[in-house]
């Protein structure tokens, strides 16, 4: 059986400025639009890309525009993989190991209203991984084009 090598579809960088996550989601959406994702799953991927890019801009690169966020979109068989890399080089304490958001506790004032980013990412994509080498911190978002793994809940 022939193994098909992963195919890089797009690579780009963004300045670490609040709001640039919108550029990332628009460009990734344009790159993957013809790869067979349903509209609902494309919307989920867009939200995950936006949230991961926001984390990279804010927690990884400290909102310093001169430090780029790198985004790579790859197709590996029936999987679309989006890798978002910052130069923070460490685990993001506010995101990677964040306490799970609990709406009741938030409404009671026992937990900050914030802290939804990583929760949303995990719930939007089929798989999420984080790697770091001490300099670069990468979040890997995987979405299968075949559908199925995440049911269509709507």
């Amino acid at each position: 059986m022939t193994q098909v090598a992963p195919r890089s579809l797009d690579t780009f960088t963004l300045a670490s400025e609040p709001g640039n996550e919108r550029l990332a989601l628009a460009r990734v959406a344009g790159t993957v639009k013809d790869l067979g994702l349903s509209d609902a799953r494309l919307e989920r991927l867009k939200t995950a890309v936006a949230e991961a890019t926001m984390n990279a801009i804010e927690h990884g690169n400290g909102n310093r525009p001169e430090i780029p966020v790198e985004v790579e979109v790859t197709q590996d068989g029936d999987e679309i993989v989006v890798a978002i890399t910052d130069q923070g080089g460490r685990i993001h304490p506010d995101t990677d190991e964040h306490e799970a958001p609990d709406l009741v506790r938030k409404l009671d004032g026992d937990q900050s209203p914030r802290g939804w980013g990583l929760f949303l990412i995990r719930n939007m994509v089929d798989a999420m991984d984080v790697t770091t080498d001490g300099q670069r911190h990468t979040i890997w978002l995987t979405m299968r084009t075949g559908g199925a793994a995440h049911d269509e809940r709507m």
Binding site: G19, T47, M54, L103, K106, L107, R114, L120, N123
Partner: protein
């Protein structure tokens, strides 16, 4: 920070309506807070219900969700009900995942929300 969110408010019998447009993200904090203040103090009646209409909103992120949580917490403390209308299927899903829809009744559009609130038996 300049906000890409705008809000208009109006008063109905017993309900205050906040119609949002643009992007609900962290930069929308002042817009949303000001709109809530205006909405609940508008008109001679007290407003037991606040309607958040998202029909013209094209983007909500995690910090926008946090703002909505803050509005809901404040409304609950003031014994007001919050309902939402006009959410896209994607953002309805996010309201479900975050459990916001356990506390905020969702309507497909503003007309149906207003109709339900002003004629509850219909």
């Amino acid at each position: 920070m300049t906000s890409a969110c705008e809000a208009t408010t109006r008063a109905l019998p017993g309900a205050a309506v906040i119609e949002l447009s643009g992007e609900v993200d962290g930069s929308a904090a002042a817009v949303l807070t000001d709109a809530y203040e205006r909405a609940v103090t508008a008109g001679p009646e007290s407003h037991d219900t606040v309607v958040l209409d998202f029909a013209a909103v094209d983007y909500i992120n995690s910090t926008g969700i946090a703002l909505i949580v803050s509005v809901l917490a404040r409304a609950r403390a003031e014994r007001r009900k919050v309902v939402a209308s006009g959410l896209s299927p994607h953002y309805r899903e996010i309201f479900d995942i975050t459990r916001l829809s356990d506390f905020i009744e969702l309507f497909p559009d503003l007309d149906r929300a207003v109709s339900q609130l002003t004629h509850p038996a219909a």
